[in-house]
């Protein structure tokens, strides 16, 4: 293969490659837009996607819960320290 050939191949790759990438992603832009339009027009979700977080558990966490968690963490640390058998 002559040196010119490989230059030609590189140029072909550039053309075909960028061409394909742009064509494909442009088609995808169209297809995605159409899909979104179709779904929002004809198949809207009953409840919107917005995640309705449950109201954060009032404002305070009572002391009992607190001590529960502290103990849980302590217990968890102990559990982690247990060496796993080989």
């Amino acid at each position: 293969m002559s040196s010119n050939d490989i230059l030609q191949q590189g140029a072909d790759l550039l053309m075909l490659g960028m061409g394909s990438v742009f064509v494909f992603l442009s088609v995808l832009v169209v297809a995605t837009t159409a899909m979104s339009w179709f779904i929002n027009r004809w198949l809207p979700e009953a409840e919107p996607e917005v995640v309705t977080r449950k109201p954060a558990p009032s404002t305070e966490i009572n002391s009992k819960t607190l001590s529960i968690i502290e103990q849980a963490i302590a217990q968890h640390r102990v559990a982690k320290g247990r060496a796993a058998a080989e």
Partner: protein, 433 residues
């Protein structure tokens, strides 16, 4: 004649291996201390050290080990098969490398008869990479971690992901240019594999390199992951040079909420379009879309969880070790590696520039202006490049958060480089005929 066999220079080999062990240590340092893509570079660096242990042959096939050991049965068989004198060890290795699969299988059987087994890293490479499976499984997991919401809210950012792939093909041209001017000697397949570094996507780079230029895989993967880690250094100067202060201050409208159903439909549409337009990209993008569908559909959470955790982690360990096996001195310490490293950083730079310029071009036509900084995120390097776009944007306007806007082109870049990979594999295959 025996003396000819000895000409390979044992001392030189060991010196090269010592150098590669240092390279492995540097990679570990970058991964651990500098946080350069540690999930990959820790196993790659460690595997690189293992691959260069003198005398262990962990990265060699049983056949290679038999030939290094100058096993008479194997060499006789090779001479018989290839009908060549094969006086020197390198001639044998070279003849084997260029031979058909069945000749290699016959020689491998003779080597196994003679008691030479594949090294552990060689086996990992065969199972994980040569088979093509590990990059596919990584893509499955990455798909299950990807949120296409920002892309769906603003689909035209897909074009930014397209433009940034120019880095890939410009680099291919650079590599063939090097060959043309006699600086390097890359084949077109090798040039294509080097170009993919510009895709800024590790599994895609490994997948393409394993198909088109397995011998360069080590250097290509190391370059890809290292430059991805260096994105915060490589991109900002280019982004600033190509944009005005006013452009960098462009505030984009808030993204609309995307419904669950759109997110479910998207991966299926991508798969079908890929199937029709770029079948050679179907394995990579198919697995990516399956992962994403598993995440979004909400009915197979246990599969999605496993794909994002146990499965991708297991695969990453073996992928990294397998890439490391390609850091064996005889493959990595080659002038080509320097060429690859030089071309790789150019690829990132050109991709970044192309993305930014495309965004500016879009602003010429579109009413809804985009901040051209998000164009730079089109190279992929998820999520690093999107964060860089956000950071540079905040420098010009401390209240302008571009992160979500940049995620669109960022994930588009993953699709773009997988498409580019498919095209390159198909075209190079066609050149070969």
């Amino acid at each position: 004649m025996e003396n000819l066999w000895l000409a390979s220079g044992l001392a030189q080999i060991q010196m090269n291996q010592a150098i590669m062990i240092l390279v492995g240590l540097v990679l570990l340092f970058l991964a651990i201390r500098k946080k350069f893509e540690p999930l990959l570079l820790v196993p790659i660096g460690f595997g690189g050290i293992m691959a260069n242990i003198p005398g262990a042959g962990l990265a060699s096939s049983g056949l290679e080990l038999a030939i290094y050991a100058q096993d008479p049965m194997v060499i006789a068989k090779a001479r018989e098969l290839f009908e060549m004198p094969l006086a020197h060890i390198d001639a044998v290795l070279h003849a084997i490398e260029n031979s058909a699969y069945s000749a290699q299988a016959q020689l491998a059987a003779v080597a196994k008869d003679a008691g030479y087994n594949n090294g552990a890293l060689y086996n990992f490479y065969s199972v994980a990479i040569a088979s093509g499976v590990a990059p596919l499984v990584i893509f499955l997991g990455v798909g299950a971690m990807t949120d296409f919401g920002p892309l769906l809210a603003n689909p035209k950012t897909l074009l930014l992901g397209a433009a940034a792939q120019f880095g890939i093909f410009a680099t291919v041209l650079g590599a063939v240019g090097m060959t043309y001017f006699g600086i390097m000697d890359f084949s077109i397949a090798e040039a294509a594999a080097i170009g993919i570094i510009g895709g800024a996507d590790g599994p895609t780079a490994i997948y393409v390199a394993s198909m088109l230029a397995p011998d360069l895989l080590g250097a290509i993967a190391v370059a890809a992951y290292s430059y991805m880690a260096l994105v915060p250094l490589i991109q900002p100067p280019i982004m600033r040079a190509l944009t005005t202060e006013a452009e960098r201050q462009i505030v984009m409208t808030q993204l609309r909420t995307v419904s669950k159903r759109e997110k479910i439909a998207f991966p299926v549409i991508v798969l079908i379009l890929v199937g029709f337009f770029i079948p050679d990209a179907a394995p990579l993008l198919g697995m990516f879309c399956l992962g994403n569908l598993m995440k979004e559909c909400g009915v197979v959470d246990r599969l999605s969880d496993t794909a994002q955790n146990a499965l991708i982690n297991i695969t990453t360990i073996f992928l990294g070790l397998s890439v490391g096996s390609k850091l064996a001195a005889d493959k990595f310490l080659d002038p080509k590696t320097l060429g690859i490293l030089a071309l790789g950083i150019v690829a990132f730079a050109i991709g970044t520039a192309a993305g930014v310029l495309m965004a500016k071009l879009m602003n010429v036509f579109a009413k809804q202006k985009v901040n051209p900084l998000i164009g730079a995120a089109g190279v992929s390097a998820v999520p690093m490049a999107a964060r860089v776009a956000n950071k540079v944007g905040l420098e010009s306007n401390p209240h302008n958060f571009l992160l979500m806007h940049a995620m669109g082109p960022n994930v588009a870049g993953v699709i773009g480089s997988a498409v580019a990979a498919g095209v390159m594999i198909a075209v190079v295959k066609a050149f070969g005929l």
